[in-house]
């Protein structure tokens, strides 16, 4: 168990801010897709480069699967975003976010010799924004910030260490 003594309030606050910001990003990504009638994961999947490219291409070619993937992606992003922002089921939300980000990264990793025709706004080598967000979520998944500030605190109770600190 994480000992609050090892973590000062301002350190928790920074972690919670990180959680809210990543949550905001996920939520808006999901909502923007939900309200864009033209959006489909197809262009992203079809660009897939690495060892998952066959699976992704198969998804694109099957309209039913593509629809399922689109729905899963949109609803997943919205649910993860909400969970992170309000601190509800924080750890499962982090893990689900890690899975999605891993898939995004693996589809189009900026490895040497890989050239994606998807437009990118920066310059990346191996590390891109998906990977940075992945690493950030990995950190968050190890700290139950929802039980410090979030609905998890109300539902599952505050961290024991936090109670003892107050006592």
């Amino acid at each position: 168990m994480i000992r609050s003594k090892a973590i000062a309030s301002w350190q928790w606050a920074a972690l919670i801010l990180l959680r809210v910001i990543i949550g905001w990003h996920f939520l808006y990504e999901g909502i923007a897709k939900l309200f864009n009638p033209y959006w489909s994961s197809a262009p992203y999947l079809v660009e897939a480069k690495w060892f998952l490219s066959n699976i992704f291409t198969m998804i694109v070619t099957n309209p039913q699967w593509l629809k399922v993937v689109d729905i899963l992606n949109i609803s997943g992003q919205i649910a993860i975003g909400l969970g992170l922002m309000i601190g509800f089921l924080t750890t499962p939300a982090c893990i689900a976010g890690l899975i999605l980000l891993a898939l995004y990264y693996l589809a189009n990793p900026p490895l040497v010799g890989f050239k994606s025709s998807m437009p990118v706004e920066g310059s990346y080598l191996i590390v891109n924004k998906n990977l940075v967000e992945f690493a950030s979520l990995l950190v968050l998944s190890l700290f139950p910030t929802g039980r410090v500030a979030g609905l998890d605190r109300l539902v599952f109770g505050p961290l024991k260490s936090q109670v003892s600190k107050e006592g």
């Binding site: 919670i16 909502i31 309200f35 262009p43 079809v46 694109v60 309209p63 605190r153 109300l154 505050p158």
Partner: protein, 527 residues
């Protein structure tokens, strides 16, 4: 006493802790509130911007596309088709009417297995039943005639391939045209044979689907025009992009005057492959023993057998007009469909054989400029067969410019009079199109070859009908068949064909004569 006080204090502390828990639990909720406020604000802003622009343009974003009437109704009348010329285009047109060679099905199945994005088989199988029988086939090259005979036996009916009796082969097209078993004929031969065959078809009372360019010369165009006009046959010229949804949209946009006064239209061809430059493969088994060379020559100058001239006929003026009749014709017809331009007053042209010096006499880099003084505008066509740099098809108006291919975008001109207010209100900016139209369904598929990619970007391959991808050549053939059944004029009738042929021949004549040519509408000749 002491314990009571202690209890009280404990209670207070618990309450404080409980309050603290609730506060901390909900502490990040304001961010969520902030998120939705920001999101709604953005939505409202985007929506009001969109509404203001659409109001200004008078466009409904969801208005259904107007598809030609011919594709909407189907009657039961079975039409008996004949085909003359079954090269790759002819075979494609047969598939558009539902007749398919089993080899093609196998090839496409294999292609789809290798590349799951290859949807050509799926698109074919979802075609509408054209309700035709292929009764007659004529080709001067044996293997092609055999292929067509085979295709005539396998017909797509309601998504399934059914076997039919099949067609009869005719050695001479004249016999095919005289056959009482043929109601309508598809002519997909080299250009120099178009006019003689179509004239005989008119005389025999057969409806005609004729591939572009309508004729090889202006004189032939005049003759064919008069013959078709004096007849009751239904004539369709093979400019399938008449069925392209984005072109129909483009017409609406022009009709609403959204571009302002158009003074310049620029249209282009860029290809960069041997196949795109008409260096088609020569089959090993081809020779004088299985090619009827005399029939191929027809009205063309006599010369000894030449397998290159037979398969790569587009490279010589004896049989076609090069870029002019092959690709300018499509570009011109697209612009004519959208602007109803008609025949230009003047034309100049230039170019040369700069890359594919393979014995051809038609240019591989070619440009033509057409003047329309009555419309106060110029049409420019510029082509190269040795660079793939995409240049688009652009309509330039004082208020906006429009790019039309399979998709369509309208961009407001920063110096526009009409959109001045929108610019001042920062509702539009040059980097963002005022309006864009992307037809069709979600998802992605692929085009397989370089020339196929060229055709796709020009809107010459596919469009979408009710969200389903369709081959526009199929729609064009269907329209023709429906017009035959309903005795109506198809979209690319003899009037449009005449305009297409004369415009292309003005460019060819200007190139060959090395000077500006003029259309004399009274005497109907190029001077």
């Amino acid at each position: 006493m002491m314990s009571l006080e202690k209890d009280k204090e404990e209670k207070k502390k618990n309450q404080r802790l409980r309050r603290r828990d609730i506060l901390l639990s909900l502490s990040t909720l304001p961010f969520l509130g902030g998120f939705f406020v920001a999101w709604l604000k953005k939505r409202k802003y985007d929506e009001s911007k969109k509404q203001a622009i659409l109001k200004e343009l008078g466009i409904s974003p969801k208005a259904p596309a107007i598809l030609p009437e011919g594709t909407l109704k189907r009657s039961n009348q079975v039409i008996r088709l004949g085909i003359i010329g079954v090269g790759s285009r002819g075979e494609h047109l047969l598939r558009c009417a539902g007749f398919v060679h089993p080899d093609w099905l196998e090839n496409r199945k294999r292609a789809a297995k290798l590349n799951p994005l290859d949807k050509s088989l799926e698109i074919f199988l979802s075609q509408e039943d054209a309700n035709c029988l292929l009764t007659a086939v004529c080709d001067v090259y044996e293997p092609r005639a055999e292929r067509a005979l085979m295709a005539s036996k396998y017909v797509l009916r309601q998504g399934k391939i059914v076997e039919e009796k099949g067609a009869k082969r005719y050695r001479f097209y004249q016999d095919l045209l005289r056959s009482p078993d043929v109601d309508a004929v598809i002519i997909a031969t080299p250009d120099h044979l178009h006019a003689p065959m179509a004239l005989e078809a008119v005389a025999a009372g057969k409806h005609i689907y004729l591939e572009k360019c309508m004729t090889r010369t202006a004189d032939e165009a005049v003759k064919l025009y008069d013959a078709v006009k004096a007849s009751r046959i239904v004539f369709q010229l093979g400019h399938q992009q008449r069925q392209q949804e984005s072109h129909v949209r483009a017409r609406e946009i022009i009709k609403r005057g959204l571009l302002g006064r158009i003074t310049l239209v620029e249209t282009t061809t860029n290809r960069n492959s041997p196949e795109g430059a008409w260096q088609y493969e020569i089959p090993e088994e081809a020779g004088p023993h299985n090619i009827d060379w005399d029939q191929f020559l027809g009205p063309a100058p006599r010369r000894p057998f030449d397998v290159y001239r037979f398969f790569r006929w587009r490279c010589w003026f004896d049989y076609g007009t090069g870029l002019s009749g092959d690709l300018l014709s499509h570009e011109y017809d697209a612009v004519n469909q959208i602007l109803e331009l008609g025949i230009p007053k003047y034309a100049v042209a230039s170019g040369g054989i700069y890359f594919f010096d393979d014995g051809r006499d038609v240019p591989d880099v070619f440009h033509a400029v057409f003047e329309y003084p009555d419309r106060e505008m110029t049409l420019i066509y510029s082509a190269t067969l040795a660079s793939d740099r995409y240049r688009g098809r652009i309509f330039m108006g004082h208020d906006a410019w429009m790019e039309v291919g399979e998709t369509l975008t309208v961009t407001a001109d920063p110096e526009s009079t009409r959109y001045k207010e929108l610019y001042l209100a920062k509702l539009v900016e040059p980097a963002v199109p005022l309006f864009s139209f992307r037809p069709g369904a979600k998802g992605i598929d692929t085009v397989t070859s370089a020339s196929e990619r060229y055709f796709a970007t020009r809107g010459l391959l596919y469009s979408y009908k009710e969200g389903k991808k369709v081959d526009i050549s199929h729609l064009h053939v269907l329209e023709w068949l429906d017009c035959i059944r309903q005795d109506r004029e198809p979209s690319c009738n003899i009037d449009r064909g005449f305009e297409e042929a004369i415009t292309c021949h003005m460019a060819t004549e200007a190139y060959l004569r090395g000077r500006r040519v003029e259309w004399d509408p009274l005497n109907r000749r190029i001077i």
